[in-house]
C-alpha cells in the first residue's frame, strides 16, 4: 500500500487515493486466513465509475454524482465553506460547538488515537483511515477558510490544502469510513474526539449541502418522519406483523404471547428498533414473553413514529435527530406512561437517553431507561423461573459502543449472562474497551455498491477476529456458539460478517439478542427458543 500524504486529498487523479487490497489487511486466524478463499469485493462497473465519485479508496458508499460543470463545482465549494462557518457559529451549532472547538484547537498530533482505531489498524495501516487524517484535513480547512489571515498562515506553516470538488467529495466518502465508535477519544491523552469530527463533517454535508446516505436520510429519518418507521412499515402493518408473530410463536412454543398496544397509563412504553420486527421477530416476542411473565404493566405504541426507536439523525443531522426524538416523547406523553424503555438498539439508547436530554424540555423529558437494566431487575428479582442448563453452549457478549462506551451500561447484561449461561466467556478487550462491530455510525444499514464488502472485511474485521478468539477452545462447526449482541444494528453487521465468511458452516457461529437467551432458559417454554440457523 502506498503511503498517502495529507495534501493529496485534493489531487485530481484517475486512480483512487488509496485503494484497498485484501492482502494489505491484517490476516484473520484459520480457516479464514487464506486470501484466495475469501469472497473478494464487488467490482465497480465502468458506468458506476463514470457516474459517481469513487476516487477515495475505490469504495462507493454514497453514490455522489459527479458535478456537471464548473459552475456546479463552484457552488459545492462555496456551500462547503459556508457550512464550515456555520459549524463554528453559536447560533447554528450550539449543540456541539464546545467539543468541536476543543478537538480542532488542541490536538498534539501524537497519533495515540491511531493505535486504538479498529478501522485503521485492521486495514493494515491505510493512512486515509487514520483517525487524524480526516480530522487534520478538516482542521486545516477550518483554519484556512474561517480564520482571519488563515490562507496566509496555512502557506507559511506549509499546511495549505486546496479546496476543490475532489477534496470535498473525498471528505464526504471519508466521513463514512469511521464508525463513530469513539474508541480513539477514549485513548486520546487530551480527551479529543475524532469520532466527533466525523459527526460534524457529516452534519455539514447534510445540513448545508443536502448530502447524506440514502439509507440514513430518505429511507431513514425522512421515511420515519413521514411514514412512521425507517423500515417503511405503517402503523397498521406493524400491528399486523406483531400479531402474526404473537400467534405464530404462541402456537410453536405452547404459551400465550400477547402484545399490548396503546395502553394509556401503562407503567412502561417499550420502543423497539422496528428492524427487529422484520428481521428478528423472536426479539420483540422474547420481550413480550418476559414482561408478561413478570407481570409488568407495559405497552407498545402504534402511533408513528413511536413503534420505531431508530433515530439515524444521531449519525448525521441534529435537526432530524431532534425531530424524531421529540415525536417519540410526544407519544409517550400522550399515553401518560411512567417511563420509556429502550429496546435492544444501541443508537436508540444514546439518542434518547443522553443526547435528547438537552433537547427535551418541560413535560417531554419523560424518564428513559435501558431494557438491559430493566430486564436485569426482573431476572435478579426471581420473578421468572430460569434454568441455566438450557443455555449450555458457549456464549460471548458483544458490547455495543452506544450502550457501553457512550452510556456506561456495562454490568447488567453481564450479570444476566453469568446467571443464565454457564459457558459464558468474555471477548478481549471488552466492556468500555470493546471494539465496534464495524457497523457503527449507520454503516450497518448501508450497503450500496461495494460498501458492504468494505464494512464486513475492513471495519468489521476486528470484531470477527475477537469472536473467533473468544471461541478458540471450540473452533469447529460441531459445537454451536452464540454471540450475544443486544443491539439491532450490531446484529445486522454480525449477520453480514458471518454470511460473508460462511462462519455458520465453518465455525458453528450464530448470533442474537440478550432476551432470546433469557427466554431460552425459561422452563415453561417447551421448544428451544434459540434457532441455530438464523443467519
Amino acid at each position: 500500500m502506498k503511503p498517502t500524504r495529507i495534501k493529496n486529498i485534493s489531487k485530481i487523479t484517475r486512480e483512487p487515493l488509496s485503494a484497498n487490497e485484501i492482502d494489505d489487511l491484517v490476516p484473520l486466524p484459520p480457516p479464514y486466513d487464506r486470501v484466495e478463499d475469501q469472497p473478494g469485493w464487488k467490482q465497480l462497473t465502468g458506468e458506476q465509475r463514470e457516474a459517481y465519485a469513487c476516487d477515495l479508496d475505490g469504495v462507493v458508499a454514497l453514490s455522489l454524482p459527479k458535478p456537471k460543470n464548473a459552475e456546479e463545482e463552484k457552488q459545492v465549494v462555496d456551500s462547503f465553506v459556508s457550512g464550515l462557518r456555520k459549524l463554528l457559529s453559536k447560533e447554528n451549532n450550539w449543540t456541539f460547538l464546545q467539543p468541536l472547538t476543543l478537538t480542532l484547537d488542541y490536538c498534539a498530533r501524537c497519533q495515540t488515537c491511531a493505535q486504538s482505531c479498529p478501522v485503521y489498524q485492521e486495514s493494515g495501516g491505510n493512512e486515509i483511515y487514520r483517525p487524524t487524517y480526516r480530522s487534520e484535513i478538516f482542521r486545516r480547512l477550518v483554519k484556512k477558510y474561517t480564520k482571519r489571515g488563515g490562507a496566509l498562515l496555512a502557506k507559511l506553516k506549509r499546511e495549505d490544502i486546496d479546496l476543490n470538488w475532489t477534496t470535498i467529495s473525498r471528505l464526504y466518502e471519508l466521513s463514512y469510513r469511521c464508525t463513530m465508535c469513539r474508541r480513539c477519544a477514549q485513548a486520546c491523552p487530551m480527551g479529543l474526539d475524532n469520532g466527533l469530527i466525523t459527526h460534524e463533517l457529516r452534519k455539514l454535508f447534510s445540513q448545508e449541502l443536502g448530502w447524506a446516505p440514502r439509507e440514513l436520510h430518505e429511507k431513514g429519518t425522512v421515511q420515519q418522519l413521514t411514514v412512521g418507521s425507517s423500515t417503511g412499515m405503517k402503523p397498521a402493518v406493524v400491528r399486523d406483523n406483531i400479531s402474526f408473530m404473537d400467534e405464530d410463536l404462541s402456537e410453536e412454543l405452547g404459551i400465550k404471547i400477547e402484545t399490548p398496544w396503546d395502553v394509556e397509563g401503562a407503567d412502561v412504553l417499550l420502543i423497539h428498533n422496528a428492524g427487529e420486527i422484520l428481521a428478528w421477530p423472536e426479539n420483540p416476542a422474547a420481550f413480550a414473553i418476559i414482561l408478561n411473565a413478570a407481570g409488568v404493566k407495559w405497552t407498545l405504541s402504534s402511533e408513528a413514529p413511536a413503534y420505531d426507536g431508530v433515530n439515524y439523525g444521531l449519525f448525521y443531522d441534529d435537526f432530524q435527530l431532534a425531530r424524531i426524538v421529540t415525536r417519540h416523547m410526544e407519544v409517550a406523553k400522550k399515553l401518560g406512561v411512567k417511563k420509556v424503555i429502550m429496546g435492544e438498539c444501541g443508537h436508540q439508547h444514546k439518542a434518547m437517553m443522553t443526547i435528547a436530554d438537552r433537547i427535551l424540555t418541560g413535560n417531554l423529558n419523560i424518564p428513559r431507561e435501558s431494557s438491559l437494566t430493566f430486564i436485569e431487575d426482573i431476572v435478579a428479582s426471581g420473578r421468572i423461573a430460569l434454568d441455566p442448563s438450557r443455555n449450555d453452549f458457549p456464549v460471548t457478549l458483544h458490547d455495543p459502543c452506544n450502550i457501553v462506551r457512550n452510556l456506561g451500561i456495562v454490568e447488567p447484561q453481564r450479570r444476566i449472562l453469568r446467571k443464565i449461561c454457564p459457558r459464558f466467556r468474555e471477548m478481549e478487550p471488552h466492556g468500555v474497551n470493546n471494539y465496534c462491530c464495524g457497523g457503527g455510525g449507520g454503516a450497518a444499514i448501508m450497503s450500496q455498491h461495494n460498501f458492504k464488502d468494505w464494512r464486513v472485511s475492513v471495519s468489521g474485521r476486528m470484531k470477527f477476529r475477537q469472536i473467533l478468539e473468544a471461541f478458540s477452545d471450540s473452533p469447529g462447526p460441531e459445537i454451536k456458539k452464540y454471540v450475544c449482541a443486544p443491539c439491532s444494528n450490531c446484529k445486522g453487521q454480525i449477520r453480514d460478517i458471518f454470511e460473508y465468511y460462511g462462519a455458520q458452516e465453518k465455525s458453528g457461529l450464530t448470533y442474537g439478542g440478550l432476551v432470546e437467551l433469557i427466554v431460552n432458559a425459561m422452563p415453561e417454554i417447551k421448544t428451544p427458543y434459540i434457532k441455530w440457523d438464523v443467519t
Binding site: 500524504r5 495529507i6 456551500s79 456555520k86 453559536k90 447560533e91 447554528n92 450550539w94 449543540t95 460547538l97 464546545q98 467539543p99 484547537d105 488542541y106 490536538c107 498530533r109 501524537c110 497519533q111 495515540t112 488515537c113 493505535q115 493512512e127 506553516k157 506549509r158 469513539r182 477519544a185 485513548a187 491523552p189 487530551m190 480527551g191 474526539d193 466527533l196 445540513q207 448545508e208 443536502g210 436520510h217 435537526f319 431532534a322 443522553t354 436530554d357 438537552r358 433537547i359 423529558n365 424518564p367 431507561e369 435501558s370 437494566t373 430493566f374 436485569e376 431487575d377 457501553v404 462506551r405 456506561g408 451500561i409 456495562v410 454490568e411 447488567p412 466492556g431 468500555v432 474497551n433
Partner: protein, 298 residues
C-alpha cells in the same frame, strides 16, 4: 540598558502569557452549553468507575441519588498529569520521552515557584533558609534540565524520524520543541559550567519582583532566561496549552453527565430560540425561523 530590556521582556512575557491564557480559557468557557456527549469511564462514578459503569445502570436511576466521588476524579487527573496514563496505555513509543519532557516542565515550574516564593519572602524582609529553598531548587533544576532536555530532544528526533508523526507535524511543532530543548539544555549547561547558576536565577527573580535593574547575566543564563521568556509568551498561541484545554475536554465534555435542570432548561430554551441559517431544503430554515420552529417543521 540591557538590564532594563530584561525587565521589560520579563513583564511583557508574563503579561502576554496571562492575557493569552485568560482569553483562551474565557473563550472556551463561554461557548454555549452543548448536548451530552459523555464517554465511559467517567471517574466521578463512585463505585462503578473501575469498570466504566455509570448511574444509567440503575433501574429507575432518576429516583436515586447520584453517587459521585470527586476523589476519583482527582486521582484520575493526578495519574494523567504525573504519569501520562493515557499515553502510557496507548502509545508506549512516545511515552518515555513525553514523560521525561513533561516531568522536566513540572520540575521547572516547581523550581520557579520556590524561587518566586523565596523572592517574595526576602522582599518582605525574611530570609529563607538555604535548606528550604536553594537545595530543593537545585535538585528540581537539575532534574528539570536533565529530563526536559532528554525528553524534548527525544520528541524532536522522533517527530522528525517517525513517518506517522512527521506527516502530521507542521513547522510550529518543531519550533515549540526546539525552544523547549534550548530552554532545558541551556539551563543544564549553565548548571554544569557556572557555580551558583540557580542563585543567579534567584537574583534575577528577586530583581524582577522588585523592578530593580542592575543584574548582568552570563551567556548560559541569558540564553536560558531568553528561551524561558520566549516560551512563556509563545505558550498561549500554541497547541501546548492543552493543559488548560484538557480541563474542559474532561470536565465539560467527556465527564459532563449533568441532567437537565431548571437553570439548564432556561439556557437550552434560549439556545433553541436562535435563528437557524443552515441551507439544506429538508430543514426548511430561512434564516429567521428558530430551532424550535425548524424541529417542529413549521
Amino acid at each position: 540598558m540591557s538590564e532594563y530590556i530584561w525587565l521589560i521582556a520579563t513583564y511583557a512575557s508574563i503579561g502576554i502569557f496571562a492575557l493569552g491564557m485568560a482569553v483562551r480559557v474565557v473563550r472556551i468557557a463561554r461557548l454555549p452549553l452543548h448536548l451530552r456527549w459523555e464517554l465511559a469511564p467517567v471517574p466521578h462514578e463512585r463505585d462503578k468507575h473501575e469498570y466504566g459503569g455509570s448511574f444509567l445502570e440503575e433501574p429507575d436511576w432518576w429516583m436515586k441519588p447520584r453517587e459521585r466521588s470527586r476523589m476519583n476524579e482527582l486521582l484520575f487527573m493526578l495519574k494523567e498529569i504525573f504519569f501520562l496514563h493515557a499515553v502510557r496505555k496507548n502509545n508506549r513509543r512516545i511515552w518515555p520521552f513525553s514523560l521525561a519532557f513533561h516531568t522536566g516542565l513540572y520540575c521547572l515550574f516547581f523550581m520557579a515557584c520556590l524561587l518566586v516564593a523565596s523572592a517574595a519572602m526576602s522582599a518582605a524582609g525574611y530570609a529563607a533558609p538555604a535548606a528550604l529553598i536553594e537545595t530543593p531548587a537545585g535538585i528540581l533544576g537539575g532534574a528539570a534540565y536533565l529530563l526536559g532536555s532528554m525528553g524534548a530532544l527525544g520528541m524532536l528526533v522522533l517527530r522528525g524520524l517517525d513517518r506517522d508523526l512527521r506527516s502530521y507535524s507542521g513547522l510550529p511543532a518543531y519550533l515549540n520543541l526546539a525552544v523547549l530543548f534550548v530552554l532545558f539544555a541551556s539551563g543544564g549547561f549553565g548548571m554544569i559550567i557556572e557555580d551558583g547558576f540557580i542563585g543567579e536565577m534567584q537574583r534575577f527573580i528577586n530583581a524582577a519582583m522588585l523592578a530593580r535593574p542592575g543584574l548582568a547575566l552570563y551567556h548560559a543564563a541569558a540564553i536560558h532566561l531568553g528561551a524561558g521568556l520566549f516560551f512563556l509568551a509563545l505558550l498561549p498561541f500554541t497547541s501546548m496549552v492543552h493543559f488548560a484545554a484538557k480541563f474542559f475536554t474532561y470536565h465539560t465534555v467527556l465527564w459532563d453527565d449533568r441532567r437537565m435542570d431548571a437553570a439548564m432548561e432556561k439556557e437550552v430554551g434560549a439556545l433553541l430560540g436562535q435563528p437557524v441559517g443552515w441551507k439544506s431544503s429538508h430543514l426548511g430554515a430561512d434564516g429567521t425561523k428558530n430551532w424550535i420552529d425548524v424541529v417542529k417543521g413549521e
